[in-house]
């Protein structure tokens, strides 16, 4: 579905629809806001995501254990007594090492959301900036960027990702950095297309005649008109980034222990489910699914609200 949405975003037809839409006006965003609020699934999803963020931020207040503490009492009897329990304070049970799964899930949610909400927007901004410059200046710069883009797409990102993680350490910062580096192409093509459409409009000519510099034109006149495209694209990239992080963590080259992420927790849970400790898979997977579902519907709602064709 994300694929389909992205294809729509990069189609020439969309570029035209979008360019028709002069959206620097305030009423555009107000209208879009109203349309978004009418979309029930999207609003519910915002609520769910809000709860998830609260869970990530303040969930620890409810935890009786920290995410790295080992409950020695349960070690060796995890299968029998390590399940979710109100009496011993392990709301979600413990993991295969006897650490509190609730605290770990909070920690993992924190990592995953952080990665998504930092790396996602930053990589779109990076791609958008490069795309805007390429579209605005055209010529050799544009050709170079497009060439690099094509070559980059031909390399499965996982190669780069895994090698980088394995070689340069596995901190949260490294993780975010490598995701941004891998995703520098996000939003590039579409913003480039938009800028190419818009730069020939009268209002840009007018600005140029007023003596504004290229940078000023880009920032003041073009950026507001492509902001909404960037917003849609970001909403598509965030769940993808969370997914990528989880996949890499699943492969064992993600975040360094004892820190964790949802992907790492799902991986650990999947590895031990043969022993009947299903809760170790169920809780992180449920949180992951909730995050993905709500992000999906929010993106859907944003698209409906902002895309001129969907109205």
């Amino acid at each position: 579905m994300i694929g389909a949405a992205k294809r729509r975003l990069t189609s020439p037809a969309f570029a035209e629809d979008a360019a028709e839409e002069m959206v620097a006006s305030r009423s555009f965003w107000a209208d879009a806001g109203r349309r978004f609020l009418r979309n029930r699934m999207a609003v519910v999803s915002v609520g769910m995501l809000g709860l998830l963020i609260l869970f990530a931020l303040f969930g620890n207040l409810l935890a009786r254990w920290t995410y790295e503490e080992i409950d020695w009492n349960l070690l060796g009897r995890i299968k029998e007594e390590g399940g979710p329990s109100l009496s011993n304070g392990h709301w979600f049970g413990v993991d295969e090492l006897g650490r509190d799964l609730y605290a770990r899930t909070v920690q993992g949610t924190r990592t995953s959301l952080m990665v998504g909400f930092v790396a996602g927007p930053v990589s779109v901004l990076l791609g958008a900036t490069i795309g805007a410059l390429a579209g605005y200046y055209g010529g050799r710069f544009d050709r170079t960027v497009l060439g690099a883009y094509t070559i980059w797409l031909a390399i499965p990102y996982i190669i780069f990702f895994v090698v980088w993680q394995a070689f340069f350490g596995r901190s949260l910062g490294q993780m975010i950095l490598v995701i941004i580096l891998v995703n520098w192409t996000a939003g590039l093509l579409i913003v480039r297309g938009q800028v190419m459409m818009l730069k020939n409009r009268e209002f840009v000519d007018a600005a140029r005649m007023l003596g504004m510099s290229d940078l000023q034109i880009l920032a003041r006149h073009l950026a507001p008109n492509i902001l909404w495209v960037v917003v849609i694209y970001t909403s598509l990239v965030i769940p993808e980034v969370i997914m990528a992080e989880s996949l890499v963590s699943f492969l064992g080259v993600g975040i360094q222990e004892p820190n964790t992420s949802l992907g790492a927790l799902i991986s650990a849970g999947a590895a031990t489910m043969t022993f009947g400790t299903l809760w170790q898979l169920a809780f992180p997977a449920a949180v992951f699914v909730i995050a993905q579902v709500s992000l999906f519907y929010i993106g859907d709602g944003l698209r409906d609200a902002l895309d001129p064709k969907e109205r």
């Binding site: 579905m1 994300i2 694929g3 389909a4 294809r7 070559i151 797409l153 031909a154 390399i155 499965p156 990102y157 996982i158 190669i159 895994v162 090698v163 980088w164 993680q165 394995a166 070689f167 340069f168 997914m243 989880s246 996949l247 699943f250 492969l251 064992g252 080259v253 992907g263 799902i266 991986s267 849970g269 999947a270 489910m273 043969t274 299903l278 898979l281 997977a285 992951f288 699914v289 993905q292 579902v293 999906f296």
Partner: protein, 310 residues
């Protein structure tokens, strides 16, 4: 067309070169190496080992040797971490595995995704249409690394129908789950895409013309609608194959198939430079070959594109 193919093939060379150079320096400039361990080797031994693998020479000389060996003798060098095995050995052993279930997975994606999409479009708003929408959302939410454990949970742990991992020479029982886990989400995307484009084509003027000719509905769909409806799907197959190659790394690891994905992850852990480089080249070549294949297929189907190429 031939011209175009040649031009595309020529593009492979600089791309691979960039990839190799980039990956080579990236790995080498990172701290640590294949022979760093908890207990450092005595300097004399270390020097010996390094000399044996040619790692005592300057980096650019090593890079040149590496490239020259590939060009002259298709020799990707010895593995650093696996004793007495060359990169060629490792690939020769693991690649057929990945290729086998990858192939079946692609068959699964196309043979299920396309008909499902077509049926959903023809029975617009009917049972299959809703089933498919459900499936699409499902696959969005359950990526392969969530789906795979669930599959194992059901088919292996609960019902005992299929083995939960291993390869066993590629017996069909061992291929089923890797292929499904790898393909499901793309199958859903393909179905959705096919449905959308089929609906669009069915509403187009030239389909109305075909109906006005008095052709039976079956002929209208098979002869007139199918080809254009499949074009968007075909374009999408390029990226899908790339994603599937990526996903295969996960499947190899999760199902312990012994495919190249596992070698890749192991190589990353043990800093096995030559394995990593060799596999990176393999993945990139695969990506190139598949996308080129898709593009050529597209040109073969769409006369306008074909005209544009020659």
């Amino acid at each position: 067309m031939l011209n175009y193919t040649l031009r595309r093939l020529l593009m492979v060379i600089p791309t691979l070169l960039i990839l190799v150079v980039f990956a080579f320096y990236l790995m080498r400039l990172a701290p640590g190496g294949p022979f760093t361990s908890e207990r450092p080797l005595p300097p004399a031994v270390m020097a010996n080992v390094l000399e044996r693998y040619g790692m005592d020479e300057p980096l650019h000389v090593q890079l040149w040797t590496y490239i020259r060996n590939i060009l002259c003798c298709f020799d990707f060098g010895p593995s650093f971490a696996q004793k007495d095995r060359t990169v060629n050995d490792v690939i020769a052993q693991g690649f057929p595995v990945t290729l086998t279930y990858g192939f079946w997975s692609a068959v699964f994606v196309l043979l299920l995704g396309i008909p499902l999409g077509i049926v959903a479009a023809l029975k617009h708003n009917g049972f299959w249409d809703y089933t498919m929408t459900g499936l699409a959302i499902f696959s969005q939410i359950f990526p392969n690394f969530v789906l795979a454990p669930i599959l194992v949970l059901l088919f292996t742990l609960s019902w005992g129908l299929l083995p939960g991992g291993g390869w066993n020479g590629g017996q069909w029982q061992y291929v089923v789950m890797p292929a499904i886990a790898l393909g499901t989400s793309y199958m859903a995307s393909v179905a959705r895409l096919t449905r959308g484009s089929m609906l669009e084509v069915l509403g187009s003027p030239y389909i109305r013309t075909a109906r006005a000719k008095g052709l039976p509905e079956r002929t209208v769909i098979l002869r007139h609608a199918l080809k254009p409806a499949l074009l968007p799907t075909l374009t999408y197959m390029g990226p899908v194959f790339v994603y599937m190659i990526t996903g295969s790394v996960f499947v190899d690891v999760f199902f312990s198939t012994g495919g190249i994905g596992q070698d890749f992850i192991d190589g990353a852990y043990s800093r096995d430079y030559s394995i990593l480089l060799g596999l990176a080249i393999l993945y990139a070549v695969l990506t190139f070959a598949l996308t080129l294949m898709v593009d050529l297929l597209y040109a073969w189907i769409d006369p306008k594109v074909r005209a544009g190429l020659s």
